[in-house]
Structures are given as structure tokens and as C-alpha cells.
């Protein structure tokens, strides 16, 4: 390993440590908040509600908003799929040398498309007057980070020479994630679970 690779790997690992510590801190803070236990007799099924929440409740055909904003919706789906793939890829990068060529090429394409979707996010955010008004520096910075994460991921999957660059970007992204809007990835699960529990027990989910 070259010195550059060692430093870059160190940044990535440090970022990972901050990420894990940050996530634990968020979970502790969340657990410390009160939670009003439902005491009313149930009418439906909270469990089925949670299942609905992560399946049919997320289906684009179930939401008029997804049909209306299909481009933004599709962009979001592609962006997030590539981010999840990017996270898995990050863990696998120490073995990049033995990764099959076709897989690396596929990842290059996926991450490149993801990065384009990230860039498109700037356009969408700036073009919509309400989104522009409500956006704060955190929104743009987080978007820049994930775009760069995917772009550097594409570059490193294409050529191992860019791997240190990817590790540095990944380290910074991971370190920042628990502080800014990127933490929504964690709250997402809570939001969907609460939705399923609350409305599932009332038997209103279709």
C-alpha cells in the first residue's frame, strides 16, 4: 500500500467510526424522547400496517404524488439505489483487485448514472421557487457530497488509481452524515414504522 492509500484508508476508517458513533448518538437521543403508548383497543393490525408501510405504501402507483412528480421520483429511486450500492462497494473496495471486470464496469455505469442524478438534484432544487426558498446550505452540501461520492466511486471502479480519492470522499461523507440531512436515511425507517403502527391499528391502510 502506498502512503497515499494508507492516508486515504485512514480517512475512510475515521469517517466510518464517526458515522457509527453519530448513528448511535442519534438512536440514543431518539430513544430518550417520550413515546406515547397506544392504549386504545386496536381495530386493525399494527404489524400488517408496518408491512404495508414498507411495501404497498411505498409503491409509486399508490401515490398521486409519485405519478405527478414521476421524474423526481425516478431520480430519487436511482440515486438512492446507487448510494446503497456505493456503500456496499465501499466495504468491498479492499478486494477491488479481485472484483470481476464486468461487475466493475456495471458499477461504474451505475455510479456514473447516480452521480448525474445527484447533479440533477441541484437543478431541481434551484428551479423550484419553494424548494429554493426552503433550502439551506446543508441541503446543497449534502447533495454535493453524495454526488462526489458516486462520481469518485465510478472513477475508482473504472480505475483503481482513483481508489484513494474515493476513500477520502467516502470518509468525509460518512463523517458528515450523522450531522446533516443525510441522517434522513435512518429516520426513514422510523417514519415508515410509526406510520404503519399508528394507521395499521386503525385499519385504514389499503
Amino acid at each position: 500500500m502506498s502512503l497515499l492509500e494508507i492516508v486515504a484508508a485512514g480517512i475512510a476508517i475515521a469517517g466510518g467510526v464517526i458515522f457509527v458513533a453519530g448513528i448511535v448518538a442519534i438512536l440514543i437521543a431518539l430513544q430518550r424522547r417520550p413515546y406515547g403508548v397506544e392504549m386504545a383497543p386496536i381495530k386493525g393490525s399494527p404489524g400488517r400496517g408496518v408491512f404495508w408501510s414498507f411495501t404497498l405504501g411505498m409503491a409509486p402507483w399508490a401515490k398521486a404524488s409519485a405519478r405527478l412528480h414521476w421524474m423526481a421520483y425516478l431520480r430519487g429511486v436511482i440515486l438512492h439505489l446507487s448510494i446503497f450500492a456505493g456503500a456496499a462497494y465501499l466495504i468491498a473496495t479492499p478486494w477491488l483487485g479481485v472484483m470481476p471486470g464486468p461487475l466493475r464496469l456495471s458499477l461504474t455505469v451505475l455510479f456514473a448514472i447516480g452521480a448525474v442524478m445527484g447533479l440533477a438534484g441541484f437543478g431541481i432544487r434551484l428551479a423550484n421557487p419553494t424548494m429554493r426558498l426552503l433550502s439551506v446550505p446543508d441541503d446543497y452540501f449534502a447533495l454535493a457530497l453524495v454526488t462526489l461520492f458516486l462520481a469518485s466511486g465510478a472513477m475508482s471502479a473504472y480505475s483503481v488509481a482513483y481508489l484513494p480519492f474515493f476513500w477520502v470522499v467516502a470518509g468525509i461523507t460518512l463523517a458528515y452524515a450523522p450531522f446533516g440531512k443525510l441522517k434522513h436515511f435512518l429516520y426513514f425507517f422510523y417514519a415508515r414504522i410509526f406510520l404503519g403502527l399508528v394507521f395499521g391499528r386503525k385499519n385504514v391502510l389499503e
Binding site: L30, Q31, R33, P34, Y35, G36, V37, E38, M39, A40, P41, K43, G44, S53, G57, M58, K63, A64, S65, A66, L68, H69, A72, Y73, G76, N128, P129, T130, M131, L133, L134, S135, V136, P137, D138, D139, F141, F179, G180, K181, K183, H184, Y187, F188, Y190, A191, R192, F194, L195, V198, F199, K202, N203, V204, L205, E206
Partner: protein, 425 residues
């Protein structure tokens, strides 16, 4: 330099304290999960009727979110400019109160259109509580909630008035049924059901007719189900108002409390009250529609749908439907008691609010806002071609009645119980 008065400091401190107390896991999640993607805009009836930034759910939630960042989020406090934390002044609180009370009916529709399920209504509910504690609750809502408490405090004084009123209504029921045996029982210990009406005769007479025909063991509550403290987010008062009925039900040893067609009143007693009191209620809580649904299923009520031959549509009250769990019951009853039932689109879980929910109908200054926000509902009603709109909530009923005049819809607004009573043969 801007001067901050002691009163202002105190209000801000109180707002912070209230927010600290009320932001639970569910609300914290709603505050943190939104990425401001904007896909919720069209899900809101305010935005649909007048598409502007202030009418998007994420704009409204974001205003509260920025206060939260200043009050409770250490990262927001450290880097306010970066994360959009905002200093909370008296003026800002007053504006937030205006947003929470007049620009959101807590209908929860946007939650189901959001890719994350952000519960903006829950954020607004907390904001209403904070605003009420700081003295920014709409005066009229406060007066109505206080009047409900005064009724209980002076129950002896109102008992005679109530009993006189019931006697008059009982005569009406007897005339309609052609039977001097028909009764509106009051204070019947051991009755199976305690029926809780609203103040109006339309929530007593048709139901009394139905109970009499079904030969139900029932008794009429002295109190009404309206609980305006819920709209204020004032749980202390909401509990006092709910407690009147709970005490009455316990004293009469009834098995079930049946709530009339009142959206918030039903949801408060069915779903919220057990949480407020920290234990399940010692009786079952159901809505009158569920009881009628059972009667029709069991063949206890002889109904003739031809009696209600004109086209009828149903408006889902957000509180009774999406938030209360009664989506199919009213439809089953209506299919049995009307000849031509037509659905609005969208309906059930995705039904739009009429624009009068969560206390808006009671604040006269907000009539223009209500009429504007209700435009979408007016259009939906017109599209069905219905002559009668049924709704199971008196707030919706008043709002749709006004929408009918304002948009010249020419519809009559009524309830499931009234149409059922009319269909009895």
C-alpha cells in the same frame, strides 16, 4: 438594535419548554426525516385550491422545524446558518400560531403522499400546543373549550334545561314514530349504551328513532361530544372535557359509549383519550355509524333505499375516516339506505379535507381562507352530480353547507343517521 422584552423572553422560554415536552419520538422523526423534496405540495387542499409556497406542507413544517433547530437540536444551535435554525421572537411565534391554526387542518393527507411518510400534521399539532400555551390560541376556540368545562362545573344548573329539552325532543320522536311508547332515556343506570350527541337536535332525534326501532337498551348523555381543546392542543383541558363523559359512563355502568357523528369527538374518545389518561377506558367506544351498520347487518332496521332516491355522495371526515378508522362502515350503511350512491374521487384514505377541519369553522375571521381551501372539495362534489352530501362530522357539515352557498352547488348536507332514519319503513 432590536429590544427583547421580559414578556417576550418568558414566552420564548415557555415555547421552548413546551416543545421539549411535546416532541416525542414520532414528532422528532417527522422533524428530522423531511428532505424538502417538494412532492407533497399537491397533496394539500390548500395548495390545490391556491398553489403558492405558503400552502405547501413542507413550507409549513419547515417553519416549525427551524424553531426546533434553535430550541432542541445541538447541531442546529452550533451552526444556525448552515442548518436553518431561526431565532424565535414573539412575532415569529405569533406567525407560527397563525400557520398552525389556519393553514393546516391536521388532515394527515400529505403523510400518505410523501415518500417518507412525514407526519406534518403531528408537527402542526405540537405547534398548536406550543402556541396555545404561549397565549396564541384562537380566542374563539378557547371560549368554546371553556364553555364545555363550565357546563360540567355547573351541571346541576344545566340539568333542568337539558331535561326540558329532552322532553320536547321525545315528543318529536313519538310523533315521528306514531307511538307514545318511544323514549329518550336519560340517566338510565345499567343501560347497555350511553349515546353522546352534539348540542343539536339532529344528533338526538334521528338516533333516538333508530334506537327505539332497534329496541336498544340506551341512555342519552347529558354532555356533548365536542372537545375543542383537542384543536387547541390543550391536553389538560381536553382531558377535563373527555372526563365528563367517562365519569357519566362509569356512574351509569354502561358497556359501551357511542359517539355521534362528530369527527374529532370520536377520534378523541376512541383513540386519544386512553393515551391521555394512560390506561384503556373501562367501556368500549364506538361510533353511531358502527351501531347502525350492525343493526342493518342483523336485519334489525327495516330500511328502504328508495326513500332516499336522489343521488348521494359521501365526504370522508378526516378525523372519522383517515384518522379514526371508519372508512367502510358509512359506505355500507349508505348503500343500504340510499338508492343512488356515488363516490367522490379520491376518497377514503386519500380523501381531501373539506377545508373546515380542526376548528377552522369556529373562527369567523378565517371564512375566506376556508372557502378558498374548500374549492377542491366543492369541485369534487359538483363532479359527482349528487344532490345530497353526507358527512359524519358537524364541522364538515357546516363547511360543506357554506361551500354549497359560496360555490352555488345547490346541495343539501346531512348525516348517515338522518338518512337512515328517513329510510326506515
Amino acid at each position: 438594535m432590536e429590544t427583547i422584552t421580559v414578556e417576550e423572553q418568558n414566552k420564548t422560554a415557555l415555547a421552548r419548554e413546551m416543545m421539549e415536552k411535546l416532541v416525542d419520538r414520532r414528532v422528532l422523526t417527522a422533524l428530522e426525516v423531511c428532505v424538502r423534496c417538494g412532492t407533497c405540495a399537491e397533496s394539500c387542499h390548500y395548495y390545490q385550491s391556491d398553489p403558492k409556497t405558503e400552502h405547501t406542507p413542507y413550507y409549513r413544517a419547515e417553519q416549525v422545524r427551524r424553531v426546533y433547530r434553535q430550541f432542541m437540536d445541538p447541531v442546529g444551535q452550533a451552526f444556525p446558518g448552515w442548518f436553518g435554525a431561526k431565532p424565535t421572537t414573539d412575532e415569529a411565534l405569533s406567525r407560527l400560531a397563525e400557520i398552525a391554526f389556519s393553514s393546516c387542518t391536521l388532515c394527515h393527507r400529505c403523510t400518505f403522499e410523501c415518500p417518507f411518510g412525514v407526519e406534518t400534521a403531528e408537527i402542526m399539532r405540537v405547534m398548536r400546543s406550543v402556541a396555545t400555551a404561549c397565549g396564541y390560541g384562537p380566542e374563539m376556540l378557547v371560549e368554546i373549550a371553556n364553555a364545555a368545562i363550565a357546563k360540567e362545573e355547573n351541571a346541576d344548573l344545566f340539568r333542568d334545561i337539558f331535561l326540558d329539552q329532552v322532553k320536547e325532543l321525545e315528543k318529536e320522536v313519538q310523533d315521528k314514530l306514531g307511538s307514545s311508547e318511544a323514549r329518550i332515556p336519560v340517566n338510565q343506570k345499567g343501560a347497555r349504551l350511553l349515546y353522546v350527541p352534539l348540542a343539536g337536535a339532529h344528533t338526538i332525534v334521528p338516533q333516538a328513532i333508530i334506537f327505539n326501532i332497534a329496541r336498544e337498551s340506551w341512555t342519552l348523555s347529558m354532555f356533548d361530544t365536542a372537545n375543542y381543546a383537542v384543536f387547541l392542543g390543550d391536553i389538560t383541558k381536553a382531558k377535563r372535557i373527555a372526563q365528563r363523559i367517562i365519569k357519566e359512563a362509569e356512574a351509569l355502568e354502561v358497556q359501551e359509549v357511542i359517539i355521534t357523528e362528530c369527527g374529532h369527538g370520536y377520534t378523541a374518545m376512541r383513540w386519544d383519550a386512553p393515551k391521555w389518561f394512560g390506561h384503556p377506558l373501562p367501556f368500549k367506544v364506538r361510533n353511531i355509524i358502527e351501531v347502525i351498520d350492525d343493526y342493518i347487518r342483523d336485519g334489525v332496521l327495516p330500511v328502504n333505499p328508495a326513500t332516499n332516491g336522489e343521488p348521494v355522495t359521501y365526504h370522508d371526515s378526516c378525523n372519522l375516516g383517515r384518522k379514526g378508522g371508519l372508512l367502510e362502515e358509512p359506505r355500507r350503511v349508505l348503500r343500504a339506505v340510499v338508492g343512488d350512491f356515488r363516490e367522490m374521487t379520491p376518497n377514503r384514505l386519500h380523501s381531501y379535507c373539506c377545508g373546515g377541519g380542526s376548528g377552522l369553522v369556529a373562527v369567523p375571521e378565517w371564512k375566506d381562507i376556508r372557502m378558498q381551501a374548500g374549492k377542491l372539495k366543492a369541485d369534487q362534489i359538483r363532479q359527482t352530480g349528487a344532490k345530497t352530501v353526507v358527512t359524519s362530522c358537524d364541522n364538515c357539515r357546516f363547511q360543506i353547507g357554506e361551500l354549497s352557498q359560496y360555490y352555488d352547488l345547490g346541495v343539501e348536507v346531512t348525516s348517515v343517521s338522518e338518512l337512515t332514519a328517513k329510510a326506515l319503513v
